[in-house]
């Protein structure tokens, strides 16, 4: 159901503006709109409110502090439960009673500010150490690869050392570089080749510093990109450089451990105070920023927005209680010409609410039209069951729903998805009993009783049934469309939808007679009458365009039969696996693979095709996209 909304306008003295905004944040019901979008704005002679200099400064300070606190919180380790006696806990208890603005002072000047500075210093130091550790470990890896050099290189004094990487496809370049290096330096060099790794072949070249330019120019050219060891890492000998890098890495890791301990300690002491301060500052920032949604005239301000009609009186009471009549609330129900601006909130019972997510994939229905969620709650499981219709697969689906709830018990989306899967599983199980299917033909093999309707034995009857069901679905869509047009006070639109209903019903009748081989004459007569009525209300052009669309839409429901048959044939194939392979074990493996494939297809195809039938065929009859999602002022 689309919740009825009321437009409200709040008028009060300018000095109370920020307090009113804070109260509205607490009320969490007002969907605020820019004053310039209100139809009264042009005639009100008011101007959109601009922030005072002081408010701008406060907002900028709050945003800066929020950024710092969020960075600090993202880097502080999580703690289970802080001991209340710690300094931060005491301060938190002391300031939790204070207002948001007093908290700002506390965070920017009090002990909390000092704690925040310490945390950010530690975070910066940790980042610096991480960078250094990464750099040292890169060169250490390179040096460790060439440990045999320790014995052969006695000094790095006045020598330049370059690490080289050759791709595996260019192993010959390695020989070429070695040869040219000997030529250029006239033998005053050393070239060491490492193991061939996945990343390529590592090599180290040593040559006199005085010949560095010549080597780079004549040996390396553009083909080889040397990795130079930074000067600060270079020691007198290769061995001492390696030793220094190892000790440096250990030292840096030790330092990092110390910083981690400092951060853990700071987290234990200050995390709760920082979390609540972040929430308070966030509220403050939102309240100041929301003032840009106000309009002012002389010493008064006004706010325009929408609230659910059922919340209007409670909002009025809250404002009366807090401002003792200084802030006045006007409200009225929207007129049809205001509908495009009205935000849409959907409200449904718990068994329907999960289907609202499917509508949210697109956009909410426009205000003043219909919410299809209750219908989806019936037709989606029904179509799904008609396609899958197998007791065994239904049990697997139910297991998946249970698993989803176990893995993500606190996530509302997971709960809703599990509910939809469960409803679909129930429907599949019930229709599986009707079809007599348990992992395909196992139902009959196990002697579980004679099926009421075997769809693979009567595909044509099944096709006629689903096409008829599709026609009923579309007739329902057209009737809802007629109701929506009636609510919009469009007589022509309402009549047009009724004619569409007649057209769909007669087309379905004709189609059923064609497929089922019944008497065609009355069906064709009704189709002719529907044509004439549609032409009278919508004109011949629309009839020409609408008729093929209607017929193809009705036959589109044939996919229920097609997918259902494909599913049952695949399941039967899995049952025959043993006979096909002639080996029990191989047959079991093949059957398992085919059943798994069927479960995956059985999950994907019915969901996508059922949604397609709804979004393309069904919604096309009445659904009006473009609803504005209801988004009230709230702290989070």
């Amino acid at each position: 159901m689309i919740v009825p909304m009321e437009r409200i306008r709040l008028i009060g003295p300018r000095r109370l503006a920020s307090r009113v905004i804070s109260a509205l944040y607490r009320a969490e019901v007002l969907h605020i709109v820019q004053p310039t979008l209100d139809p009264l704005f042009p005639i009100s002679n008011s101007t959109p409110l601009s922030l005072l200099e002081e408010e701008k400064t406060t907002l900028s300070a709050v945003n800066k502090l929020l950024g710092e606190i969020q960075l600090a919180l993202s880097r502080l380790p999580e703690i289970v439960a802080p001991p209340p006696s710690l300094e931060g806990g005491a301060i938190e208890a002391e300031i939790s009673e204070k207002g948001d603005e007093e908290r700002l002072l506390e965070v920017s000047k009090g002990p909390l500010s000092e704690a925040l500075t310490s945390i950010l210093d530690a975070v910066r130091e940790e980042d610096g150490l991480d960078g250094e550790i990464k750099e040292v470990s890169v060169y250490l890896r390179l040096f460790k690869e060439f440990q045999p050099l320790l014995a052969r290189i006695t000094t790095l004094s006045r020598m330049e050392i370059a690490g080289l990487v050759f791709s595996r496809d260019h192993a010959r370049s390695c020989d070429d570089v070695e040869k040219r290096l000997e030529e250029v330096t006239q033998g005053a060099c050393a070239f060491f080749r490492g193991k061939s790794l996945e990343s390529g072949i590592l090599a180290v070249a040593l040559y006199p510093q005085s010949q560095g330019d010549e080597v780079r120019k004549r040996v390396f050219r553009d083909r080889v990109r040397p990795i130079h060891i930074p000067e600060r890492f270079e020691r007198d000998t290769y061995a001492s450089t390696l030793r220094w890098l190892i000790s440096q890495e250990n030292e840096l890791k030790e330092k990092r451990k110390e910083i981690e301990e400092i951060l853990s300690d700071l987290s234990r002491r200050w995390r709760p105070a920082l979390v609540s301060s972040e929430a308070a500052l966030h509220r403050l920032a939102l309240a100041i920023a929301a003032e840009s949604f106000l309009a002012e005239k002389e010493a008064a301000f006004w706010i325009s927005g929408w609230v659910p009609a059922c919340e209007r009186s409670s909002l009025g009471r809250l404002l009366e209680l807090e401002f003792k009549g200084a802030v006045v609330l006007y409200s009225h129900s929207p007129e049809p010409d205001e509908y495009p601006e009205v935000p849409v909130q959907l409200k449904n019972p718990c068994w329907v609410a999960p289907y609202e997510h499917l509508i949210e994939w697109f956009s909410p229905p426009a205000y003043g039209t219909a919410d299809p969620s209750p219908l989806l709650a019936v037709t989606i499981p029904l179509f799904f069951g008609l396609i899958l219709g197998d007791v065994g697969y239904a049990a697997i689906l139910a297991g998946m729903a249970w698993l989803l709830l176990r893995l993500a018990p606190r996530r509302p989306v997971a709960l809703d998805a599990a509910r939809i899967i469960l409803f679909c599983a129930i429907s599949s199980a019930l229709l599986g009993v009707l079809y007599g299917e348990f992992f395909g033909g196992l139902w009959v093999s196990l002697g579980l009783g004679e099926p009421a309707f075997q769809r693979k034995e009567h595909p044509q009857l099944f096709l006629v049934g689903v096409v008829f069901l599709g026609a009923v679905h579309m007739v329902l869509g057209n009737l809802i469309g007629a109701w929506v047009e009636y609510k919009r006070r469009s007589l022509r639109g309402t009549l047009g939808k009724f004619c569409d209903t007649a057209l769909v019903a007669s087309a379905a009748w004709t189609g059923s007679m064609l497929l089922g081989g019944g008497n065609l004459s009355p069906a064709l007569g009704s189709l002719g009458v529907a044509f004439v009525l549609k032409m009278a209300t919508s004109g011949w052009m629309e009839v020409v365009l609408e008729t093929p669309r209607t017929i193809s839409s009705i036959f589109s429901y044939g996919r229920i039969m097609a997918l259902g048959l494909a599913s049952v044939i695949l399941a039967d194939l899995a049952q025959d696996a043993r006979g096909m392979t002639g080996n029990v074990l191989a047959g079991l493996v093949l059957a398992l693979c085919l059943h798994s494939l069927n479960v995956v297809l059985g999950l994907y195809s019915p969901i996508v095709q059922t949604l397609r039938l709804h979004f393309v065929e069904f919604f096309g009859r009445f659904y009006a996209f473009g609803g504005v999602p209801y988004s009230p002022l709230r702290n989070r």
Binding site: L358, W361, P459, L463, S556, Q609, L611
Partner: protein, 68 residues
């Protein structure tokens, strides 16, 4: 030769090729669009499912032909 079997095979085969071609084109475009706008995922799933109508109707025709 049983012409019904050949006709059924053609009904499935040609529509399957057409569906595969259309889905390949739509799928590639959908991935490109999703990189830019992740919130289009719902619409894209439906768009990818639209060409399946061809092969599904081909299957229906094949079943009807074989059942006659």
């Amino acid at each position: 030769m049983d012409w019904k079997v050949l006709a059924s095979a053609l009904a499935i085969g040609i529509t399957a090729i057409a569906t595969a071609y259309a889905q390949a084109k739509i799928g590639a475009a959908a991935v490109g669009a999703l990189v830019e706008k992740k919130e289009l995922s719902g619409v894209m799933i439906i768009l990818i499912a639209i060409p399946e109508t061809m092969v599904i109707l081909g299957f229906v025709v094949a079943v009807l032909l074989l059942g006659r």
